[in-house]
Amino acid sequence: MMLDVYRTYWRINLLTTLEYRANFLLWFGFTFVYHGSAIAALWIMLNNFPSMNGWDFRDMAFLYGLWMVAHALNATFFSTVDQIPEWIHDGEFDRFLVRPLDALYQVITTPGQVFPDELLLALAFLTVATIASHVAVTPAFVVLVALVVAGGALIDLSINLLISTAAFWFVQVDALRWIALQLEQEFTRYPLTIYSRGVRLLLAFVIPFGFMNFFPAAYFLHKTSNGLGLPPAIGALTPLIGIAFVAVAYAFWRAGLQRYQGVGH
């Protein structure tokens, strides 16, 4: 039953997209320039230097592609999580609490206007970057990449959920979300090995951006070092890290929800 609802929701969403073609093209241009300027900057940098700690432009493009797909998956399927603070603020959130379905599930399935432009662009870019990086594309590789980007999307979702949950305590979380997004973009763009050891550990185990793309990319591209002296195969752990991090974020969400109901709104 729940999946049926979700399927119908997506069918309507895609039909709407086809209806508003001009708008879709505008957002496509927006997404294209956004990622295009970041990738162009990387390309220009690496035109002047042979590599960044052993990563050339093709490696960096693959690194970017993995993050891009994971990020786009989250933005496409879980975009309404971002709206929770606004709903709490306007009092609209309360309607989720009186219905017999999990509140977070209702948030995720709230219809919104989501264009799959970023996801399409991300998949195209990752495909090109994969071919250019000369990785042996086996069925096992494809399955593992799919699992890795799904895990990466969960990491992205968790961070968004953590920030949205903070809205149960603080009214304004926009600035926090903006900073988190900026930091995520910057810290997933380069190989983790360029940072000092403390920052590497932070990005591996506290805010696990490293598992969104660096550790898996280092594994797929057979890099000799992942910066922490850990076995390369930890790059395949992204799905597990994603699930664990979602569990943490969900627990925090439940705590926030408890508190919200407790106040008696």
């Binding site: 927006f30 220009i44 940098m45 002047n48 042979p50 960044m52 700690n53 600035a175 380069y190 360029i194």
Partner: protein
């Protein structure tokens, strides 16, 4: 009469000062980005000591100063025009005995002055993370003048973008695109001398280079004193050209509001 516009600017400063959390976060995020630029360039330079004749300490100085300039240049000081067109309150301003473009300019200047003041604490924090070269007083003066010219180029560009709202009302996507294009083609992220040689001629001729690249290249000494007149002349040319376009758009747009209003 002028007093009114000074008051508008002071009001804008007071308004900006109330966003204390935003001030704190913008300084914190700047500190993180200074750390990032240091590790990124150090890692790259480990494999090539001086590409295009640019030494590591020069690129770190360049990038840090570029980030600090961004505190001012990334501000959309004419945003108020867009907001007022959006909610229709521009009509009331047209009825007041003031020049609306001058009012927008004063308000924007106040906002920018507040953010310009943030350069001081930001620079102090950045100095803990990286070493910033300080050129001679005469070069600094030339940089200051060129930065000011770059600011006016940016003001005109923003004004033109916000004028588009006279016709379309919604321009957020266009503005974000403009910011990213400015940061890249202005040389804020990567110096324009690192761009492929075939593209450099065209990119240096664009107005974006007049915002960031020209003052920055003066600061690091890449543009020598004998090149100042030419470089700043080009900046001035952009101000005249874009200012002309902005004035035309304003007049056409303002007439449209009057027509709409009956």
């Amino acid at each position: 009469m002028l007093e009114a516009y000074v008051q508008f600017a002071l009001k804008a400063i007071a308004r900006e000062a109330t966003y204390r959390f935003e001030v704190f976060t913008s300084i914190a995020s700047l500190a993180v980005r200074v750390y990032l630029l240091r590790v990124v360039w150090v890692a790259l330079y480990a494999h090539n000591a001086a590409p295009q004749g640019v030494a590591l300490h020069t690129i770190i100085t360049y990038s840090t100063v570029a980030l600090l300039m961004g505190l001012v240049l990334d501000i959309d000081q004419t945003r108020l025009l867009h907001d007022k067109l959006h909610d229709g309150s521009i009509v009331v301003d047209f009825m007041k005995p003031i020049s609306v473009p001058l009012y927008l300019f004063s308000d924007g200047t106040g906002e920018v002055l507040f953010h310009a003041a943030l350069i001081v604490p930001s620079l102090a924090i950045a100095a803990f993370i990286v070493h910033v070269d300080v050129p001679s007083a005469s070069v600094l003066a030339a940089f200051g003048l060129s930065f000011l010219l770059g600011y006016f180029v940016g003001f005109c560009l923003n004004f033109i973008l916000n004028c588009i709202a006279f016709w379309t009302l919604e321009i957020s996507a266009v503005q974000l695109i403009a910011t990213w294009v400015t940061d890249l083609l202005g040389g804020q992220i990567v110096p324009l001398v690192f761009f492929p040689a075939a593209l450099q001629g065209a990119i240096f001729a664009l107005p974006f280079a007049a915002m960031y690249s020209t003052p920055l290249l003066i600061y690091v000494g890449r543009i020598p004193p004998e090149g100042y007149a030419g470089a700043m002349g080009l900046q001035a040319l952009w101000i005249v050209a874009l200012g002309g376009v902005a004035a035309l758009m304003w007049r056409a747009g303002a007439r449209r509001v009057v027509v709409q209003g009956g």
